[in-house]
């Protein structure tokens, strides 16, 4: 349905482009203060990593040199501590880490794999060089397992659709992020969206169009997410989508970190992932 509504501005843009009614303009936006952006995901059995960056004025010049770009973007020199509800604390080191496997960058990380446990609450405390304090907390939710992944080939075609079944946890408000990818997790997801369980009785089915061919690898991931993470992801999507769509309402980022001029997300990751190989 969102596709359908996006269709209107696209159709309009195509019409207008044909009339040469577009031009580049100079815009002077209101002055603004930079914001500190936190991105940290806790996952049982994985090292703790955190990315601390700063926002830039929308049209601020972007350094051509990569090192200068990183220096402008990354916020270093902060003290970052994660605490568990039982009092253990883990201080992250300020090192730039390039994870070859996930292709992600972090500037704060722990040496050891911290014992993150499901069902427990963790808090984050960041003290910046200027003394500003940024805090956040999160609970690690249980995994909602994928019940089954069903691959169905079209009768008349060689293409298949993939149906993903899971059972919603009863008597509670649940939020999910559904991701499906071809071949590898490094590819851009075919579907990546968040949903809540308000319209669901018990079994949730996610489906795809008939897009997958024989021999394909399909990776299904269902994240069970907190409401704060759901709100954050939705607000990020709306903020991105409203650029250029005159019919959309922009959204500020709904963040779960507190502190002067701070925003971002601190959340646990609880997901089930099923890799399916389509028969040749």
């Amino acid at each position: 349905m969102k596709n359908a509504l996006l269709f209107l501005p696209i159709a309009l843009a195509v019409m207008l482009a044909g009339c040469n009614l577009e031009k580049e303009v100079d815009i002077k936006l209101p002055e603004t203060q930079e914001r500190i952006v936190v991105e940290c995901y806790l996952e049982p059995g994985a090292p703790i990593n955190l990315l601390l960056t700063r926002s830039s004025g929308y049209f601020d010049p972007i350094p051509e040199d990569n090192l200068a770009f990183l220096n402008q973007t990354l916020v270093n020199g902060a003290t970052v501590v994660i605490r568990s509800e039982t009092g253990e604390s883990y201080t992250l080191d300020n090192n730039l880490v390039f994870n070859q496997f996930t292709k992600k960058i972090f500037n704060y990380s722990s040496h050891l794999v911290a014992p993150i446990e499901r069902g427990k609450t963790y808090s984050l405390e960041i003290t910046l060089e200027n003394g500003d304090l940024i805090t956040a907390s999160t609970s690690i939710l249980p995994v909602v397992p994928i019940d089954s992944v069903v691959v169905e080939f079209n009768d008349t075609d060689t293409l298949a659709r993939v149906l993903t079944y899971l059972t919603d946890r009863p008597n509670e408000d649940n939020y999910y992020r559904r991701m499906i990818q071809h071949s590898s997790l490094d590819t851009i997801p075919d579907q990546d969206f968040t949903t809540d369980d308000r319209f669901v009785e018990d079994v949730i089915v996610f489906g795809t169009p008939y897009d997958y061919g024989r021999g394909d690898t399909v990776i299904n991931t269902i994240f069970h997410i907190e409401k704060a993470y759901f709100d954050f992801l939705e607000s990020v999507q709306l903020a991105i989508a409203s650029n250029g769509n005159p019919f959309a309402q922009p959204s500020p980022i709904i963040s779960n970190v507190q502190g002067p001029n701070a925003m971002g997300i601190f959340t646990g990751l609880s997901y089930d992932r099923v890799v399916s190989f389509l028969p040749d």
């Binding site: 972007i62 770009f69 973007t73 991701m179 709904i254």
Partner: protein, 779 residues
């Protein structure tokens, strides 16, 4: 309320007894050429210095002392004044026909038209006739009464090309738009480029921005009353036109001469015929992207007949649809929306002094989107249906008091966000939607009281309410308007109105879309209400120019905005996306108008300030980051419009309109940041950071439109070629802005990430210089 009624009775009783010495002349004033009733025509007795004007149904009632040869003048702008002498020794029923054509006493007529405006308690009112509308240049030659009214001061439109109306700081849902007394929920075709009103079928449009008479209720900011023609009761007539994008045809005529008539009017756009042909011709081209189909059509019909000396019945209907479709190999899409309305109206003269209008109306607005994508389909729609009963009484108790009273009852039936979606075989399936219903009611009384000939007051009270089945709301709406004539050339006016509104439009501020949802007041969503005061003066300059200056201040309560990151679609609990706050608007409107002579038109200027604030979310977990007051995107500081119509000869007229407005506001991001996301998620190198709402003012908007009407007078009737040039100096006004980042690769060992390289701001405009030609005819 009881005190008020008692007061009205006390005031009026002595007047009834006084009126016993008088006799009453009553009836209708009509156009001799086609039998259409004339609204606002003047009936005047010079000897007694007493007069009356015809009401919205052409009815007048004038009480005068007896006399052997009492002279009565009937006049109306653009018509010959008619003088009739009567022996007044009893009540007289007299229907009078006026003829247009050469003015015998042009000066008198001109003065009268403005004198009526000077003396009337009505203020903050704009009236447009189809004649004016047809003279003004129109987009692609499609004359549009709703677009033209936006050229009047105090009524800025939404974005360029749209018909969203933001009257005196009000939102786009606060306009009561009635077509022959039936409510029209969405007055737009093609996302607001054109309105649903076919100019050929419309008689006139009256827009109240303030000083609302008590018979109107249900919206806060304006009343737009569109009256359809009744149909020529003298002879068969037709009119129509062939334009660049549409054709239209109207037929009207007597069913029984002077007693019954009909009018049928339709139009349809035909761009789709060409686009389909292009698509067919390119069917074999694999690189060709088909052009979506689009067309709209509407049909107006009306029949009226005399059901006796004192009764007349009217049946009218409107049906219009926009159809937008795309049919591709893997994806198809159908989107249609439209209104239908039906009206049954009964006019009855109980006595020479009492006239009633009783109306049953039905209104329906719906949209439906169907979308199919290999193996998946969805169907989304919303619908609002109203059945309405209304009875209005007009009682000319004396020449000093005219009472109006009546009641209204409406049943609303809403289907909000009905969605059926899933795979075609039903394995994946979900649905949502809510149904609501409610009763809206109102009762009112008002008195137009001539305290002394120079001082008139219109005081009224409306009691209105809404009942959902669980929750009930009601409110009193006092109305007051007064006019003090200082001389034949000067008058002062002041008004106050409280309005209640029980329905809310769930829409992005500033953009009117067919998918906007009407939502009723509920236990949590309280009715909107407003208080508006306005004061001003009018001055007749040199007998030809009419100057009006008005200031207003308006406060709005229980205004809805969306929370941050609101989920507007597929949401069975929309209320949690609402934030409720207040609004205020104040400003000054200046207009100078010339109606007669070779050169006519007006110049309007508006200085306006509009703010909204103090928003609180209905959902305790909801977020509304904006604190304090902020300007809505339609907070237009300066607005200028100039309309000039110059009749060069009987055959040739030239027209020009110029509009200038301060730029509207937009909510733009002030900074950007990078979102890395989890393993598997996509890096977003540029995420806009939106903070204060509506923080950027677009460049000023201005545009000159030119028109030339070349008339022909063949034996069978009249025709003209209308040439329009929209945006004559090819100004690129901003429709919307967007930011276009370009990226580069940042390589660190094996890791390659995308980082922003440059961000460009781009402006999209809607119209270049757009010439068009239309051929119009009537017979």
């Amino acid at each position: 309320m009881i005190r008020f009624l008692a007061l009205v009775c006390c005031i009026s009783l002595p007047l009834w007894s006084q009126a016993q010495d008088f006799f009453t002349i009553s009836g209708k004033v009509q156009d001799q050429e086609n039998g259409e009733v004339l609204i606002g025509a003047t009936v005047f007795s010079p000897a007694n210095a007493l007069g009356a004007t015809t009401n919205d149904y052409g009815f007048y009632s004038l009480s005068l002392p007896p006399g052997d040869s009492v002279l009565i003048e009937y006049s109306f702008i653009g018509f010959q004044t008619r003088e009739i002498r009567l022996q007044l020794d009893k009540n007289i029923h007299l229907d009078v026909e006026l003829s247009s054509g050469v003015q015998l006493d042009e000066v008198t007529v001109k003065a009268n038209s403005f004198q009526d405006q000077l003396r009337s308690t009505e203020m903050s009112v704009d009236v447009l006739t189809t004649k004016e509308v047809k003279a003004i240049p129109a987009l692609l030659g499609e004359t549009d009464i709703l677009k033209t009214i936006q050229l009047k001061p105090g009524i800025p439109s939404g974005s360029e090309g749209t018909t969203g109306l933001f009257v005196r700081g009000g939102a786009s849902d606060q306009n009561l738009i009635e077509l022959d007394e039936a409510l029209v929920y969405n007055p737009n075709h093609l996302f607001g480029f054109f309105s649903t009103f076919n100019t050929d079928a419309v008689k006139d449009l009256k827009l109240f921005k303030g000083g609302f008479p008590a018979q109107y209720g249900g919206r806060l900011s304006s009343v737009i009353d569109v009256k359809l023609k009744e149909g020529n009761s003298k002879h068969l007539a037709g009119s129509g036109g062939i334009g660049l994008i549409s054709s239209r045809l109207t037929l009207e005529g007597p069913i029984k001469k002077d007693d019954a008539s009909f009018i049928v009017s339709g139009r349809r756009t035909y761009v789709d015929i060409f686009t389909r042909a292009i698509n067919r011709a390119q069917a074999d081209n694999p690189d060709y992207n088909p052009i979506p189909d689009y067309f709209f059509y509407d049909l107006n019909t009306k029949i009226n007949f005399k059901a006796g000396e004192k009764d007349r019945i009217f049946l009218s209907g409107y049906f219009g649809r926009d159809v937008f479709g795309f049919d591709g190999d893997f994806f198809n899409f159908d989107f249609d929306w439209g209104n239908s309305t039906g009206t049954v109206r009964w006019n009855h003269e109980f006595s020479p002094k009492i006239f009633s209008n009783t109306t049953f109306t039905y209104s329906d607005y719906q949209y439906n989107i169907q979308n199919a994508l290999t193996g998946f389909r969805f169907n989304l729609g919303s619908n609002i249906r109203d059945a309405n009963f209304k009875s209005d009484f007009y009682y000319a108790a004396s020449n000093r008091h005219t009472f109006q009273f009546g009641l209204q009852l409406t049943h609303h039936d809403f289907t909000v966000g009905r969605l059926r979606a899933g795979s075609t075989d039903g394995v994946v399936s979900f649905s949502s939607g809510q149904n609501f219903s409610g009763w809206e009611w109102g009762a009112y009384i008002s008195d137009e009281w001539t305290i002394i000939p120079r001082l008139k007051v219109n005081a009224g009270l409306r009691l209105s309410g809404f009942y959902t089945g669980q929750t009930s709301y009601w409110g009193l709406e006092p109305r007051f308007a007064s006019s003090l004539s200082l001389s034949d050339r000067w008058s002062l006016k002041a008004s106050y109105a409280r309005m209640n509104q029980y329905l809310h439009l769930v829409a992005n501020a500033g953009v009117t879309l067919p998918t906007d949802i009407w939502y009723p007041s509920t236990a949590n969503v309280k009715p909107q209400h407003s208080d508006q005061v306005a004061a001003g003066f009018s001055h007749l300059l040199g007998g030809q120019y009419f100057l009006t200056i008005e200031g207003y201040y308006k406060k709005l309560y229980n205004q809805l905005e969306f929370v941050d990151a609101a989920q507007l679609f597929v949401n069975d609990d929309l209320e949690q996306e609402f934030a409720v706050g207040k609004g205020r608007g104040y400003g000054l409107e200046i207009s100078i108008e010339k109606k007669e002579g070779n050169l006519s038109g007006w110049i309007g200027y508006t200085l306006a300030f509009t703010e909204r604030g103090e928003f609180r979310t209905l959902d305790p977990n909801g977020k509304f980051a904006q604190t304090g007051y902020f300007s809505p995107i339609y907070d237009r500081r300066h607005d200028i419009s100039v309309v000039a119509i110059y009749d060069i000869s009987r055959r040739l007229s030239a027209t020009a309109t110029f509009v200038y407005g301060s730029g509207d506001l937009r909510w733009l991001p002030v900074s950007r940041w990078t979102f890395q996301d989890v393993y598997g998620g996509s890096l977003q190198p540029v995420v806009p950071d939106y903070r204060e709402r509506n923080n950027y003012r677009l460049p000023p908007f201005h545009r000159l439109d030119l028109g030339l009407v070349w008339r022909f007078f063949p034996k069978w009737g009249e025709s003209d070629l209308t040439l329009s040039v929209i945006n004559a100096y090819d100004r690129r006004n901003t429709f919307f802005l967007y930011f276009e980042p370009s990226f580069r690769k940042l390589v660190m060992g094996d890791i390659v990430i995308e980082v922003p390289d440059r961000i460009a701001a781009r402006q999209v405009s809607l119209f270049p210089i757009l010439p068009s030609i239309t051929w119009n005819f009537k017979f």
